[in-house]
């Protein structure tokens, strides 16, 4: 069984983000990491692989040169190999173009199961998984809190506000997992050392048979017109209780149309 995990290298959430002149995030100036939400997908893939003899876990990412660090981190957690789609033409791609590239890469890699996180921690759109499933004609089961497989189908548990659902889909399929799916492992020394020798292939868009104008800013269906830093958060109001705190609190809530 071949599992491919889609991972994204994102800017560190606690760092200061800056935007370049074309309104894209300046990835050079900020430390990056394997998206925390994708770590849960990696974890689930590795756990599934432990239950299926001979399972193969590969990783796929699309991103700038440094994105390979995200792959290395995933490989340090476990798994076998990785593919990095790296091409200057990809700069400024939107979700539609991203799904085009990743779907093509998945087709080329071959898979039984595609796993991904519930969203990226930078753009937080959550649309790429389903777009990919659509392009590949796969059943997509999103927001899984638990995943298991018997080798021919995949079963997931999904917790919604109203109910806990159990869903099954025949393989091949695509599953996205939530951050409730299970604690992420710390890479152990042996897997870290072993990861250095695991193969990482680098593909260009041409390798995938995609024309440069189909991707990047040129191929994007949306345009970022402006990017402004969020205004600094203002200090909250402190109410000292002189016996009338409740009244002040009610006034405050009313004034903010919360009551």
């Amino acid at each position: 069984m071949k599992i491919v995990v889609l991972v994204k290298y994102v800017p560190e959430p606690t760092a200061t983000w800056t935007f370049a002149d074309d309104h894209t995030l300046d990835r050079q100036s900020v430390e990056g990491r394997l998206s925390e939400l994708d770590e849960y997908a990696v974890e689930q893939a590795l756990r599934l692989a432990e239950t299926v003899p001979g399972a193969h876990v590969g990783y796929l990412t699309m991103g700038p040169a440094r994105a390979v660090e995200g792959l290395r981190k995933a490989l340090a957690m476990g798994g076998d190999d990785a593919v990095h789609v790296l091409d200057d033409a990809l700069h400024g791609s939107d979700a539609v173009a991203t799904s085009l590239v990743l779907a093509a890469a998945l087709r080329r890699i071959g898979f039984d199961l595609v796993l991904c996180g519930m969203a990226s921690t930078d753009a937080e759109m959550s649309v790429v998984p389903v777009m990919i499933a659509d392009r590949l004609g796969l059943p997509a089961v999103t927001q899984a809190a638990a995943v298991s497989t018997d080798g021919s189908s995949v079963t997931v548990r999904r917790d919604t506000d109203e109910a806990t659902e159990e869903l099954a889909a025949p393989l091949p399929a695509l599953v996205s997992v939530t951050d409730r799916s299970g604690d992420v492992r710390l890479p152990s020394f042996r897997t870290i050392v072993a990861a250095k020798k695991k193969p990482v292939a680098t593909w260009s868009v041409a390798d995938l048979g995609i024309a440069p104008e189909q991707v990047g800013a040129a191929g994007a269906a949306t345009v970022v017109r402006a990017a402004r830093p969020r205004p600094a958060r203002e200090a909250g109001t402190v109410i000292t209780d002189d016996g009338d705190a409740a009244v002040h609190l009610a006034d405050f809530l009313a004034a903010n149309k919360l009551l």
Binding site: E12, P13, T14, A15, T16, R33, E36, D183, V184, R185, L186, P187, S188, F189, R190, I192, V193, A194
Partner: protein, 695 residues
């Protein structure tokens, strides 16, 4: 005479045969362990001084006056009585034997008898201590709890036997005219007077029988010693000699695998990080385990044990020793385990750390690395290093650690601080200051006029209480005209909590980044308010090529006071007690500066808690325990807080942000009215500020 020679020889052969086999086995067991660090073997002045002070002078034992004195007398007694052993062996072949040259001098006879009596008295004292502090009476509070009690009594009984048999045959020798000393040997003379009425023949028989008995007892004692915890009388000497000098505190040791340092840039595939099996320890580690006297001094001071947690440093060392001995047949069999007996095989299957392991995870993770055990141990066992080494294996090789620690590790890895706040927030503490703090920009070098780099630390930047200390120190330095800069977002955690949790990989990553930042900025002098940063920067960064002159703020401030650059003007009327942070006091011997500083403020009445200075009791936060839950036993911080409150102090002053947090929580928990917990610098600031600007 023939009887003497034959029986004597038989005894000698039997005893030396048995003891020799045992010692050979122990030696071979040591050979299965890892090589020691090269620095250990070096003999320098520090090593010789250590040996002289701790073995000959019994320095650490004497910190406990009564048992220490008794042990001093026993130790010197056995050295001196070694002479009577020579006399005894000589008397086997020559009834008239005496040690050449000095062997008939009265002072020697006196010395021998003096120590014989002294040892007898010491045995009585030891017996008294053992009765008074017996576990049956004191439970887990007894330092002997968990020690081999029967074995200890047997040893005392044997020492008693050594002395009375010795005096018996010496007395008889006097009566038969074979005694080397005309006078001086007062105790032997007293025995002689008792034996004299029995007549010449009887004394003749008693002399031979007593001699053989005495030698038999001594040789039997030898056999018992090498098979018991009393082995320390042989191993303590090399163990003290090979221990870290001046003490195994402060820096943790770099990771070595197979005796070689691990290159974290390009680690080898078979490198082992930390200790995952007993044979992963170095032979010095094994020597440590063999040297434990089970005295329980460590246990009596351990904050974990004293608050009902399962960790006792003594029991930990004993478990490791017992395991090493039980596994020995397996280890000594080499690669062919076919003939190893079932018990040893079973022992070999036991994990070193695990729920059914030699050391349980609850024991391993209870340690605050406070170092009280190392401080106490009379034979210089290096508990903290061993504990962290086992943690290293658990975390790095097995990825196994308390669940809560995952958050800490993730925050350190991604945000560079335990709280996960991130570099951009590192200057927020400066906002309330009424003067600008100079910040060293990315890639800038230290300006000429800046004397110090102020290492704010994660707590100093993010923890509410600690930011107050940061501001107090900044204000005091500013007042004194000391130019300093901070790194702001260029700072990351020193890696102390990661390293003490056992995550050496993360420590290396963080520490190297900091060394790189500091070195490229041309930093030479660093001042810091955090005892943990102080320890890492000053003691551990040299391991990574970062050599800086690091001072704690209490040191710098007390110097500024002495130089008259700071003047306390307003009295602070308060009873103040001072809590020695482990990493400032015990680990780094900064005891005077914070006290000088408090002493310089008029109005301050300084009171000391019971456990103070070298014996200070941990606040519970060290060893990354700050970030772990404390579900077992009672809380360490509350135990310490109670003691500090009991001094009657209105102000509890400390000099480490973690201590202050822990103690402030303790005070809040106890709802102690009118007690505040604060940094020493804060007390000084209150006094230095002009009245009109006081706030």
């Amino acid at each position: 005479m023939a009887v003497r020679v034959i029986v004597g020889l038989l005894l000698i052969v039997a005893a030396f045969g048995s003891a020799g086999r045992r010692l050979l086995m122990l030696y071979r067991l040591g050979r299965t362990a890892q090589p020691v660090e090269p620095g250990r073997i070096r003999v320098g002045a520090a090593q010789l001084r250590g040996e002289a002070a701790e073995v000959l002078g019994q320095r650490k034992l004497l910190t406990w006056t009564v048992p220490g004195t008794a042990h001093l007398l026993t130790f010197w007694g056995f050295l001196i009585l070694g002479l009577t052993l020579i006399e005894g062996f000589g008397a086997l072949v020559d009834r008239d034997f005496h040690i050449p040259w000095i062997g008939t001098q009265p002072w020697l006879g006196f010395l021998e008898d003096f120590f014989a009596v002294a040892v007898l008295l010491a045995v009585a004292v030891f017996a008294g201590i053992r009765l008074r502090h017996r576990p049956a009476r004191e439970g887990t509070r007894s330092r002997f709890f968990g020690s081999h009690l029967g074995g200890a009594w047997l040893i005392l009984f044997m020492i008693f036997n050594v002395i009375w048999t010795l005096l018996l045959y010496r007395g008889a020798q006097i009566n038969t005219g074979n005694f080397p000393y005309e006078n001086g040997a007062f105790a032997s003379a007293a025995v002689a007077r008792v034996l004299a009425p029995l007549g010449a023949t009887a004394n003749d028989v008693i002399e031979t029988a007593g001699l053989l008995l005495a030698l038999g007892v001594v040789l039997g004692f030898l056999v018992i010693v090498v098979h018991s915890k009393h082995l320390h009388i042989f191993t303590a000497v090399p163990n003290v000699r090979l221990s870290r000098r001046p003490r195994a505190l402060g820096a943790l040791q770099p990771v070595r695998s197979g005796g070689k340092p691990v290159d974290f840039d390009d680690p080898g595939e078979d490198d082992v990080i930390g200790r995952g099996a007993i044979e992963d320890f170095t032979w010095k580690g094994m020597l440590d385990f063999a040297s434990c006297t089970e005295c329980g001094r460590c246990q009596s001071q351990c904050p974990a044990w004293n608050t009902g947690k399962p960790l006792s440093p003594k029991l930990l060392i004993m478990s490791l020793r017992d395991h090493a001995l039980a596994k020995a047949p397996y280890l000594l069999a080499g690669d062919d385990h076919a003939n190893v007996d079932a018990l040893a095989l079973a022992e070999a299957q036991r994990p070193l750390v695990g729920d059914d392991g030699v050391i349980t995870p609850d024991v391993l993770w209870s340690c605050t690395t406070c170092g009280a055990c190392v401080e106490q141990c009379p034979v210089d066992i290096e508990h903290v290093d061993h504990i962290v080494d086992m943690r290293r294996y658990q975390v790095v090789m097995e990825a196994s650690f308390p669940r809560e620690a995952a958050v800490l590790l993730r925050n350190l890895e991604h945000a560079g601080d335990p709280w996960g706040r991130g570099a951009p927030a590192r200057l927020e503490w400066t906002a309330k200051l009424d003067f600008p703090v100079r910040v060293l920009g990315d890639g800038e070098t230290l300006p000429e006029d800046a004397e110090y780099l102020f290492w704010v630390g994660c707590a100093g930047a993010f923890d509410e209480r600690a930011t107050r200390t940061s501001r107090a120190v900044a204000e005091l330095l500013h007042t004194a005209g000391v130019e300093f800069v901070v790194l702001g977002s260029g700072e990351t955690c020193t890696g102390d909590p990661a390293r003490r949790l056992g995550n050496e990989l993360l420590f290396q990553e963080l520490a190297r980044q900091n060394v790189q930042t500091l070195t490229s900025a041309g930093v030479r002098k660093i001042v810091t308010t955090c005892a943990h940063c102080f320890n890492s920067l000053g003691n551990e960064y040299p391991q990574l090529g970062g050599d800086f002159e690091v001072v704690h703020h209490t040191q710098l401030l007390s110097r500024l006071l002495a130089e008259g650059r700071l003047t306390p003007v307003r009295p602070v009327e308060a009873t103040v007690t001072y809590h020695d942070p482990c990493y400032l006091g015990r680990h780094n011997r900064v005891f005077a500066a914070p006290r000088d500083l408090l002493g310089s403020v008029a109005g301050v009445r300084l009171t000391e808690p019971d456990r103070t200075r070298e014996r200070s009791f941990c606040c519970g936060a060290g060893g990354a325990r700050m970030w772990l839950e404390e579900p077992l036993g009672t809380r360490i911080n509350e135990n310490r807080t109670d003691e500090l409150i009991a001094t009657g102090a209105e102000v509890v002053a400390a000099a480490c942000p973690y201590c202050i947090d822990m103690l402030a929580d303790g005070v809040a928990q106890r709802a102690a009215e009118g007690v505040t917990v604060t940094d020493v610098a804060d007390v000084l600031l209150r006094s230095v500020r002009q009245p009109e600007e006081a706030s």
